[in-house]
Symmetry: D2
Subunit: 291 residues, 4 copies
């Protein structure tokens, strides 16, 4: 904070290139806020904040499409179920959103990040001279070694074809034709799809929403961890919508199943709390007696 | 889930009008996802998900502006500081975002909601026949009675004039001229500002970002609690940007101050753990002795 | 931090009477940690940290019993379900615990706090001269006015009699006989139970776990909000146990219901995204045409 | 839930051996709650819930000591600072606790878990025939390879000797003499300390709180991930105490530093939002012109 603070102990411990302020002035990455408002979309602002520079309009539009396409996949997803349950517990919308976004971890929110990693690792092999098919084969092997046989970004437990993926890929193709992106990662992702099908004797395991948004994010130059961050922003919308809807439906302490159904218990049958000293207690009593 | 599930015990316990699915099909509020992608912006999707219908383009643009204008106010805000600290603790970006969004409570994230409440309460008084000035006076009194003398949405501890507010109000005025919104809440908010100045002997306490986004949200018909929800979506962007920047800076277990500085302790001086029975223990021993 | 920091800007902004340190020394409320370890139980330490002084042994034992009695009420409780679902999403145990503890809000975690409030309000009426029966009647009316007809701490949706409550009350009675507590709040709570029964024509609505732990906490002098804090500590145990068990069972992205069941959708039927301008857009075009 | 639910779709999806219920009955791991209350301490209950069986009294006492010794290390720790900041944001104690516990990740909360891993890996080498010194050398190398040169559980940035560690080790030694534990992991941990000193030319890097609680947890047979879970329970106490104290001190939106100090900004100087098309936009216009 240039002028107002000269105490290096306080100021430098909190150092950022994201935002600068003086009384009456706010600048993000150098741009005054009053010039950004009305000229830059929410998606473009997300880009500016995370990347440091403004995107072109075409890049911003593609980011926008990826963000809007992953907002929700229904209450069977733990994040959405948690948001709805939280909304019945007497906490604020911010708290319901937090409990839900929090579970977008490696398994529930990390597929896009892992797909960007795989795509960029394949691209790096190509940069080092490998042919597309070879790079894909090796990159796929590496992804399977790291994350298991379910390849992040491909296949879906519910949808034979995830309707979001082909539509997003169309937009990437269009953006490539218009010169906004190179189209390289769309090529790589399709080659991964082909390689997977070849390995399954022709049965296709189509790209899903995570594989498709990962193409967008990789085309746009986002580092892999930000793919998870962007997914969190996107899914927060569905989380909010469901928490809000649930709070209108009412209900108190809503659990996973209706009240008349309970869980299956498979532990020990009823037993009494031991009143005789356990072996360890006896050995202790013995050792004390010896002293 | 129309066809696939007919078990009322499971299905109806989880009931929603936000999203419907069949294998290969996803619809939000009735709209197939593949038709939404590329035709609807992230901000318009936020509207659809929370409101149930699509906004007009002009309404969507205004919502977009409000969302992009409140993303960040620097690491002195607890939400941003928490995001940065969390990023040094060995958790994922999703977790850092959750810990931070979680604190956007009544005090840190509720001003917009409270301002929408005040504006709509004033509008309701006008609908019931009150003149603007009277409705504002009474609405302001009510807000102060409910939330204290700092009127949510007005005044700023750092900015003499919050540069985001006048720019947002310009956009509202423009949208009113173009017929996208009625402009009623802009009028009300400005009348609140005037009334506050009159009460302070002419010293103006200008609208801040919360008061201005509240005008936008009220103009667009969002219920007050969603103003907080939308703020959470907006601020999540700054939270992500700062968590990401901090993770690039490195650091481990970053606390509020550099390691060489500690806190001020104002409790009891050093003392020994009592070995003599405390009064309560003595009374117990006594009562046991009596038995 | 007496010696090491004399910078009032840093030190006083972070001021505490809970803990003091020097290199090689840690004191809680003045007591050196090495003297506390081995001499003070976990429950006594919880008391010291939140209250500032050590409890007597009898007080510590009673607190211990309240803490251990509320650890879990099964996966139908949203907090426990959330912990289990989170454990399948690829996040750490700390994150699963956080998402779950977070929902112990006014409805899911606030009953104990509200019961302490009611008991202490009744006691205050008695201190001001009211007879027990009158104080109970008025205190009950007030609680119902504040929180609705379900009186916090009494009645249970599943248990005709909550088996935890009478056992805890026995311990309170015993502690009162032994002089550790006064027994006043046990009397008040039983009078509330009687008054409730009288209002229901004799049908008893027995004290539940929250009503009983609230008796303990009130007897021990804990302010009402700490009753919620203590419940969070207690329930964290069940949350941890279930998250841990679930992580051993495996599963990925476990939602509220098995994968073959979906939710009930009650929103609009399938519809097309409008390509014609919406009314608002038309009015905008019209207003632009007029200019 | 034996009798009450026979629907395998609902019941088995939620399966547990932790808790069983019928109306009026609650059993943890088979023990009726009314028999546990008053006979089992909070620490013993934590053991029962996470391990499935009751500990002996001596084992329970040792667990109790480890839990009470790690509750707090002051507001410079991010978890404590977050709790205090959250308490000023208008959220509940449960929410403040959640935001704070959430950051006890690999770096801030994982040292105990990593130390248990190292100790048990060393023990496994000994079980396979290695001598203590060899097993320690190899186990240490492995830990450094996995987690970096700062060996989890040893050394402290603030305390030359962490006063909690030697006192906890005394208790382990005593428990070993009394037959409650074997003492094997105390031996291993001390050998690690010696090996570290040998590698540093004699300069000792003493065991810290995480290394010492890890000895306790390993002696007591807790799997490594539960070491983090237990630490979360323990630190939750300090988190609650600080959140509660802060809420008594008041303050609104308390950030890391006083309001008159800001952060250091090191991003681009002020600049204007570009009105000319960016390169990408130009290329798009060009490609559109060509069509």
């Amino acid at each position: 904070m240039s002028d107002s603070v000269n105490d290096p102990r306080v100021g430098n411990w909190w150092r950022t290139s994201v935002i600068d302020m003086k009384p009456g002035e706010i600048r993000y990455r150098g741009y005054p806020i009053e010039e950004l408002i009305g000229n830059v979309s929410f998606a473009q602002m997300i880009w500016l904040m995370t990347r440091g520079e403004l995107p072109s309009e075409g890049q911003g539009r593609l980011l926008d499409a990826a963000l809007m396409s992953a907002v929700d996949h229904g209450p069977q997803a733990p994040s959405i179920a948690i948001a709805r349950m939280a909304a019945t517990c007497g906490v604020g919308l911010n708290n319901a959103m937090a409990s839900a976004v929090n579970v977008l971890g490696d398994v529930h929110g990390g597929a896009g990040e892992q797909a960007v990693e795989m795509y960029t690792a394949i691209a790096a092999r190509m940069d080092a001279g490998a042919a597309l098919a070879d790079a894909v084969r090796e990159g796929l092997d590496e992804a399977i070694a790291n994350h298991g046989k379910f390849v992040s970004g491909f296949g879906h437990r519910f949808h034979p074809v995830d309707p979001r993926a082909p539509r997003l890929l169309e937009l990437v193709d269009q953006a490539a034709r218009e010169g906004h992106v190179a189209g390289r990662f769309a090529t790589i992702a399709r080659a991964v799809e082909d390689e997977l099908a070849a390995r399954k004797g022709g049965r296709r395991i189509p790209m899903n929403i995570d594989g498709a948004t990962a193409v967008v994010y990789a085309e746009l130059g986002f580092p892999a961890p930000l793919a998870r961050g962007l997914f969190c922003l996107s899914r927060s919308v569905g989380i909010l919508a469901h928490a809000w809807e649930q709070s209108g439906q009412g209900g108190r302490n809503k659990g996973p199943m209706p009240r008349e159904y309970l869980w299956a218990y498979d532990g020990p049958p009823q037993r009494a709390v031991p009143t005789q000293p356990s072996p360890a207690l006896r050995s202790r009593a013995a050792s004390e007696a010896q002293r």
